[in-house]
């Protein structure tokens, strides 16, 4: 009697063990295959990119340092002029930061409305939720450069096209992040306000915003960091600011590397400064929430 039970359990254990081993083997096989495909993709992708590049990877590798070294050495030779140059490009830097700040501000307001109108339970017109979600998806999908280039053609160069382009993208991106936060809001204050006859705007302003504000501000600050980079890049294609000055300075070539150097320093310093500032402030916001 005992023997038969033992035998049964033993065979059961054996079956479990073999099926487990088979499963492990299969998983290893799949994992290995996935890894193989990934490696093949990486290697062949690298080769294609290398082929289609003007200069090859291996020939260029040892030259990476040349340009920065040229710029830095020339900037170092003319270090006496550096403060003057930095002062000269400071207005361009301010423009770059302004583009980022205004577009973040406008984008955040746009994202706020998109998120409130596209979240279940909060939307003013529940039937239109999918519409607002699609709108924010499309706004998010358009790269800034597309809108910026088209607007530069219509409005002429300058900060405004970049500002509009970044604001549109920001509204879409923040709209999505905001609505993820808004989904987790407590609806009780909203219902309480509704019972007093508050309008939709009042309900949102007094019932929802106080709950989500720390997260929203934190996301908006993160976006501001990203937008400073974006506004510098858009400047490079003609939208004003520091990127535009960088392109001009680079077009001068050797002999004027000190200007490029000054712009590099300004850009690097600005990005690091705002990164630190916003991450410190964001930490404070999130800590305040957890208390």
């Amino acid at each position: 009697m005992t023997n038969t039970t033992m035998g049964m359990t033993l065979s059961g254990v054996n079956a479990i063990q073999s099926s487990y081993l088979a499963q492990v083997q299969r998983r290893r096989l799949y994992g290995g295959l996935a890894l193989l495909i990934f490696v093949v993709l990486m290697v062949s992708g690298f080769n294609i990119a290398d082929d289609r590049n003007a200069g090859g990877f291996w020939e260029g590798l040892h030259q990476i340092g040349d340009y920065p070294a040229d710029v830095l050495s020339e900037a170092w030779e003319k270090r006496a002029d550096m403060p003057a140059l930095i002062l000269r490009y400071f207005p361009a830097l301010v423009e770059t930061i302004n583009i980022a700040a205004v577009s973040t501000l406008i984008g955040a307001i746009g994202g706020l409305f998109l998120s409130l109108l596209g979240t279940r339970g909060l939307a003013k017109w529940p039937r239109l939720i999918p519409v607002f979600r699609r709108i924010s998806d499309i706004m998010r999908a358009v790269p800034e450069i597309v809108i910026a280039l088209v607007l530069i053609f219509v409005l002429g160069g300058g900060p405004v096209p970049a500002m509009i382009a970044i604001a549109i993208h920001t509204a879409g991106a923040l709209g999505k992040m905001f609505s993820e936060v808004a989904e987790n809001t407590d609806l009780k204050p909203v219902e309480g306000l509704a019972s007093t006859g508050a309008t939709w705007l009042q309900r949102m302003l007094l019932g929802v915003l106080p709950q989500v504000a720390p997260n929203y501000i934190s996301y908006a600050l993160l976006r501001f960091e990203i937008n400073i980079r974006a506004s510098a890049i858009l400047g490079f294609v003609g939208a004003g600011g520091l990127g535009y000055e960088l392109r001009n300075a680079m077009a001068w070539g050797p002999g004027r590397f000190d200007e490029a150097g000054a712009i590099f320093i300004l850009l690097f310093g600005t990005i690091v400064f705002f990164d630190q500032l916003s991450s410190r402030y964001r930490n404070r916001l999130i800590e305040g929430q957890n208390q």
Binding site: I64, V146, V150, I271
Partner: protein
Amino acid sequence: MTAADLSFIKHEADNLFRRKRLAGFGLPAVLLLYLAYVFVAFDLQSLAQRANLDNAVTLVSDSWSHKVHVTRDNRTGQIDYSVEGERKGRYTEGQRPDWVTGDEITTIDLGDGYVVRYLPENSTEIEIPGFQLIQVQAEGRKLTSNLPETLPNWISASDRRIGITTPEGRITLTGARTEVFNYFPGWELFWFTLDSPYYGQSLGTILFGERLDPARSNIVGAFSDWWNNAMWRHKDVAWAIGETILMAFLGTMGAAIVALPLSFLAAKRFSPIMLLRASTRRLFDFVRGVDALIWTVVLARAFGPGPLTGALAILITDTGTFGKIFSEALENVDQKQIDGVASTGAKPLQRYRFGVIPQVVPVLLAQILYFLESNTRSATIIGTITGGGIGLMLTQAIQTQKDWEEVAYYIVLIICMVMFMDWLSGKLRTKLIGRKE
């Protein structure tokens, strides 16, 4: 509670209210002030003058329509027919659109009663409903016409050049040439150029009909003619999109591969040496702070323009970002699982493999996939700087300022590409790490 206490509390509450009120009005006021400053700084008041609304109109109308040029060279008398006035869109010898008739007198019927006639000896007749018959004679570099002194605003005329804009098309006349532009909706020659035997054939004919080109079967021939379409360059566009996605893929995955081992060095729990930890972190901050723009510029000097440069720029910038995110994820790893693995006698490497990696993989994968999507957008932008991918094609199309239908096409493709990558990365995320919550 004494009266003094009460009045103190009341005082405190009053202060709080005053502060709140100040913030309530002060914050919007500061924002408004800032916007007003930007209004001046960005010179918005003169934007209306700088804005070129004609450009906007051309852009919008050209993006969904095309025009066919009928050009008479007044020196040779030769008449050319071409789509968008491009060589690639020229009608072959002996062919012409069906709204042009006549041999001695070429009659161009623009529709709705608007008719242009190219008469012999370089003279032209233009019939416009509700207006007199316009007759123009070109002699050398001069034009003589029967136009009245006072002209409606859709005609501009001098003795060198006459331009007439009608709702059905545009006519320009100079001494050297007479041109008629007939507008049609849609993207012409999107499938086949005029020299292809498949031009103007219906889908049914191509799929099931007689062989149009004796040398090739219909489907193969049609596909190859479409793929090599000189006007829309479908092959180049496909390659460019591939390049952009490749830049994003190589950059993101490369950055993840480089950042993973480095992030162990930057995480407090796995890297006891303070100096090493701090220097790795500073390295991450540095490559992140330099930003993709500067990396692109620097790398383009070393590797020349192309997709590899863009991929490397993304790789270097994102190594910093990934390093930061990964090392934060590693710091938050649960020790219990590592202890559990260690209790079975696992060596350090096995402890990492089975105790740490399974915990951080979902976070890592989610970030990598998110960046893959966002880098597709970055790669488009970097492509315009370093010269690769769909970004470059878009910039070139915009800079020529005439092929707005191509610009519209590229924009649609870019948006579809980004949305596809968004969808793909979401799909992979749910497949690999399961749905959120």
